[in-house]
Structure formats: structure tokens, C-alpha cells
């Protein structure tokens, strides 16, 4: 039986330090990133793996390791911003080599995790990530996608959605915020052929756990794109990370699916979808857009876009059924 929330809660309720990331860190109240980390590490722990963690520079990194303190009870390395995948490639290879040289027992079960934000993944770290996947390192790369450079105060990234208000692509009198579309990172990763790629949301823990479990069991690189609301710069209440995540899934904004060696599977198909506006409206980052005179037109365009993308996913799911690349 796959791991589930009840199981994990019971296992770790009295042993919180065993999860790997403990209290005392300085992330904003309501931040989704530590939930993403804990969901990932709990599954690894539960299944008997020893997690080793690499972080890209970002919110999660600066808030959890302020010297002389650390919130990590598992081995942790931070190198720089753009190179977490390359750094972990080195760690993972070292483990392989040290086993070969007889320095580490053969049966030692490591789980190598990278946690990186969207800046470190979609933008500056894309090359490093691509190299890691192409070379086939057995690493689980978990993206916590808060759709912008939130650590430096809400700047636009390749992941920032159209119309969002950021400090480097602000909604102005002439330009309506970010005009480009968000990069489709899962497709980019899935294009590496031998890789397990999936989206995940903290609002659906069991789906999240199942994907981490699958990644752990996969004999190659894995990539989990976890939706990670930034309550601070998305301008939502501290308590909203979960509800916004849920809306993202229910409005087709953040479909839950996976691409396993080329085979698409939509892992959650809501019976009824909500209109995209329900996802946009509660978030302050879209407020300037929504108050523009041409707001309706832009929202309609975005609605069409998410609809088309959903249709495309279903087609791909149908077309690739059972057709593993390798």
C-alpha cells in the first residue's frame, strides 16, 4: 500500500526531528516551501531511505541555515544559486564511487534531494538541471515554485504567470505586468527522455506522496514541480497557501500529472472545474491587472490558454498510453 497522510502523521508526530527540517527556521508564516520539503523527506524516511539534501540559493536556503544555526537534521549542502543540480550530481557520484571503493556499505540507501525555487530552476539553474538529468544521476529534484524571485522581494522570473505584478515587470499605465507566458518546465524536463517528471500540490498530499514514492523507486533522475504559494508576495493571507494551491488545481492552472519516460498521466481529474478567475481574484498580485479596463479580455485569453493546455494534456495522455520511451 502506498504511503498516505495518516501513516506519515502517525510515524512522525512524536519524532518531528526525523523528518529532516525542524522548527526554528525563519521562513515566513504560512510559506508552502517547508511543507514541500517535509512531504518529500517524510516519504523517503518512511520508505527507509537516508535523505541527503542540496539547496539552491533562495528563501528556503537563507531562512533555514543562518550560521551558527541550522534547521536541517539531515545532511545538507548549499553551493550557489544556479548549481544545485550539478552539486548534487557530485554528491550522488561520490556515493557511487565510495561504494565502489568500499568506503560506504553497498546497501546504504541514500535519497538525494535537490530543493530549488523557480529562479534556480526555470532560469539561472536550467543548464545545470538539464545536465544532471541527461547524465542520469539518481537525484530527486524538487522545485518549489513560488513563481518569482521572492527571496529578493518579488521580481519576475521565467515562472511568473502572465499578468502578475512584480517589481521588475510591474503593472503600469502602459504595460499590464508580465506579458509573456509562464515557461512549461515539466515539458522541458520531460524532453530529456529518461526521466520521471511530475507536478504536485500540497493541497493534495496523497498525490504528492505517490509521486515522491515513484521518484524514489525510479532508477534515474526525477523532477517534481511542487506548486508553492508565497503568501507574502502573492498578497494572500498567511493561512491561504493550501486554499490557493487547491484553487490552482481546480481551475486547471496547475494540473496534477506526470510524465514517466514519455508516458503522460493526469493523476487528478476534477469532476468540475472552476473558472480561472477564482484562482486569480483572491491574490493581490493580480489585483492591478484585474482593475485594468481591459481585464476581462486578458482573463478570457488566460482562461482559453489553461483550457487548451488541459485539452492537450488529455490528448497526450491518450496518445502515449503504455508507450514508454525506454
Amino acid at each position: 500500500m502506498p504511503v498516505n497522510l495518516f501513516d506519515l502523521a502517525k510515524t512522525f508526530e512524536t519524532r518531528a526531528e526525523d523528518v529532516g527540517l525542524v522548527q526554528g527556521h525563519r521562513l515566513c508564516p504560512g510559506c508552502a516551501a517547508p511543507i514541500v520539503v517535509k512531504f518529500s523527506l517524510m516519504v523517503a524516511r518512511k520508505l527507509g531511505y537516508e535523505p541527503v539534501v542540496a539547496l539552491a540559493t533562495g528563501c528556503l536556503e537563507v531562512s533555514t541555515t543562518i550560521y551558527p544555526y541550522t534547521a536541517w537534521t539531515v545532511p545538507y549542502i548549499h553551493n550557489a544559486f544556479e548549481n544545485s543540480a550539478a552539486t548534487m550530481s557530485g554528491v550522488e557520484t561520490a556515493a557511487k564511487a565510495l561504494k565502489k571503493f568500499g568506503k560506504i556499505p553497498q546497501d546504504k540507501k541514500y535519497a538525494f534531494f535537490v530543493f530549488a525555487g523557480d529562479g534556480g530552476t526555470y532560469d539561472i539553474g536550467l543548464q545545470s538541471l538539464s545536465g544532471m538529468i541527461e547524465r542520469g544521476h539518481k537525484v530527486i529534484y524538487v522545485l518549489y515554485d513560488n513563481e518569482g524571485y521572492m527571496n529578493t522581494g518579488n521580481q519576475r522570473s521565467g515562472s511568473t504567470p502572465t499578468g502578475s505584478n512584480t517589481t521588475t515587470a510591474p503593472v503600469g499605465k502602459v504595460i499590464p505586468g508580465k506579458v509573456q507566458l509562464k515557461k512549461n518546465i515539466v515539458e522541458i524536463v520531460a524532453g530529456h527522455e529518461y526521466v520521471y517528471a511530475a507536478t504536485a500540490s500540497i493541497s493534495d498530499p496523497n498525490d504528492f506522496f505517490a509521486k515522491i514514492e515513484k521518484a524514489l523507486n525510479f532508477d534515474g533522475p526525477s523532477f517534481i514541480a511542487a506548486f508553492s504559494p508565497c503568501v507574502r508576495f502573492w498578497r494572500v493571507p498567511d493561512s491561504a497557501a493550501n486554499s490557493i494551491s487547491k484553487l490552482a488545481v481546480e481551475t486547471k492552472y496547475w494540473p496534477l500529472y506526470e510524465v514517466d519516460r514519455g508516458v503522460y498521466k493526469v493523476t487528478r481529474k476534477p469532476r468540475q472545474f472552476k473558472p480561472l478567475i477564482e484562482f486569480l481574484k483572491p491574490q493581490g498580485r493580480f489585483k492591478p491587472l484585474l482593475s485594468r479596463p481591459d481585464a476581462e479580455e486578458i482573463i478570457n485569453e488566460l482562461q482559453e490558454y489553461v483550457d487548451r493546455r488541459w485539452e492537450r494534456l488529455l490528448i497526450l495522455e491518450e496518445a502515449t498510453k503504455g508507450k514508454y520511451i525506454r
Partner: protein, 394 residues
Amino acid sequence: MYNIDLKKAKAMTGAEAVANAMRQIEPHVVAAYPITPQTPIVEYFAKFVADGVVRTEMIPVESEHSAMSAVVGAAAAGARAMTATSANGLALMHEVVYIAASSRLPIVMPVVNRALSGPINIHCDHSDAMAERDSGWVQFFAESNQEAYDLTILALKLAENENVRLPVMVNLDGFILSHGVEPVELLPDEVVKEFVGEPNVMYPLLDTEKPVTYGPLDLYDYYFEHKRQQVEAMENVKKVFPKVAEEFQKISGRKYDFVEPYKLEDAEYVMVALGSTNSTIKYVVDWMREEGFKVGALKIWMFRPFPKFQVQQYLNGRKGVIVLDRSASFGAEAPLYEAVKSALYNVTIRPQMGSYVYGLGGRDILPEHIRSAFEDAISGNLIVDEQRYLGLRE
């Protein structure tokens, strides 16, 4: 100074010599990216891996930035890890070169010196190494292929010493050494294996029983102290290196030091330089001595930490000191000249000094050029801080 036993020596390029040092060290992990003129090192080593001559795991990374990043990860994990690069590759690594040093990871990296872009050029100069001189790495410069081989082995032992724990660059001149064939005496494999021994691993990331945090956020309350510790580690190099050199002499018969004096006993005019040009300088010294000129040379083997004391000892009281630089520092003195001049600030009898920049982008340096610089000194025509050029069309 050493003599190579030609019966035991084999003709090989610097790249092959360095690759053989790496083979004998047999690091757990090598991560590298090809760049001219470093490429043959990686090619030779990849062949050793492919043929099962070494058990090393090789990571054929997608850039030098990732090469250094992976090596940092592997070294932190508890592995002996190496890479090699040149010029733009080293510049691309730059950010992580600093991180490797501040993380106190004993990584050894041969650097095949090549001019930095732009304009793009693939030939030898020292602009690549000089751009890293404040990165916190120990920097050796090899004169010959034999030295490149020896220093690579010696560097590992120095880097891993518990009072040092710093990364080391072994610089060898691009093409001149990397692709030039010379006789090289390789030590027996088992002798090298015994010399380098088991790696001295401290705080391995892969020890899940004792989890450690590498690379924390270090703010104004501790960063400064950590930098001070790095300064201290560099100072320790000066204490540890002579011991490592002595151990190396025992297995090889070859003696290394911070600097190498050449015919300095009665020399009035001394030329100071890095790398392979020292061979040409020695040739000119011999040539001019035959004519009765009291000239000599001082080779700088270790550029970082800078052997100030030895430089003072050898140059105090000379009539003239000529410093040759294979890189320029735009808007300031050339790097080696600056270091030597600074060292001579507090000697009792300061020599006349001259700065000569030569060989940028692989421009040939001829015995006549070196002789002309010596002649400037002998004729009393050295002007302190006047930067002159050898082999340049004005």
C-alpha cells in the same frame, strides 16, 4: 634542481604527465569539461576510466561551472575529487572557485594556462590564473612537464593536510607544456599511492549518522571570522609545504621549494618569472654568464601564498631585479611585479626594479628578448614602475 634519469624517463606531453599523476592518485570523482588546451588531460583520463585502469567515477559535465560545482559536492560528500580547466573555463568557474576555498575543500585542479577572452585566443598566458589569485586557492606554477606531474601529486598531500584544508591549482603553460613533449620520469604507481595515502576526510556529507550543514548563510556576525580563518590556513601552507616537499623528495629525489634560485650566489641582476619561461631565462643566464655578466634567476614555484620571505632573502641587496609577467593588470602594476615589489619594500638594500610584460596570447618569448631586459638592467636603464614589453610591436 633535479636531473631526470633519461633511462627511466618517457617522452610525453604535459597533459599526459598530469593525466598520469591523476591516474596514480586515482581520485574517487573527476568532473570535467573540455577546453583547449586542457582537453588532452581529460581525454587521457577518460580513457583510463573507460579501460578500467582507474575506478574513478567520471562526470562529463555540461560546463566548467558545473565541473567545479560537482567537484565541490563530491569533496563535501567525502570523496577525493579533481577537475582541470583553462582560461574561460576557469573564469566560468570563478564563483565556485571561491566557494571551494571557503568551504575548505582539498580539491586539486591542474590549470592549463591560456589567455582569457577577449578577444578570444587559445594560447598561453597567465591572465586566467591571475584572475583567481585572491580566490583562496594555493597556486603552483610548473616550469616543465616533470614539474607539472610532480606538483600535481605533491599538491594533493598539501591540500589534504589538516592544518591546510585548501584547494590547490597546479598551473602549467598552455601548449608550451600541455602539448610540448619532454622527458618525464613517472614514479611507480604504488609509490604515489603510498605517498598520497587514504584521504583525510573531515565532516563528510554522506555520513548520515552525523549530519552536517555545508554552505550556510554567514552574515556580518561570523563571516569575517571565517575569512580570518582562511587567511590563517594560507599562512599554514607556508609551514606545511616544506614538510610535504621533503616527503616528496624522499620518494622522488626531486626537491621542491617556494622558489628556485638559479645561479644567484654572486648575481647582481636577477630575473623573476613564473612557469615555463624560466627555462628560457636559465638558458640566457648561462649564455650571459659565459660573457662574464653576473646574472641569475629566481623562479616562483608558489605564487599563492606568496613566498615573501624567500623573495626578500634572495633579492635583498641585488643591483637590479627584473620581473617578467605573462599577464597585465589594466590600470595597475602587473601581478608578479606588484608582489615582488611589495615584498622588497622592507629589505635593507632595495634593488632597482623593472617590470616587463611578455607573451600575452601566446606571443613567443625569445632568448634575445630576455637578454635585452637583462641588458637594460646592467646598463642602469631600469625605471621603477615603467612597464615595458617584450616582443611587442609598438
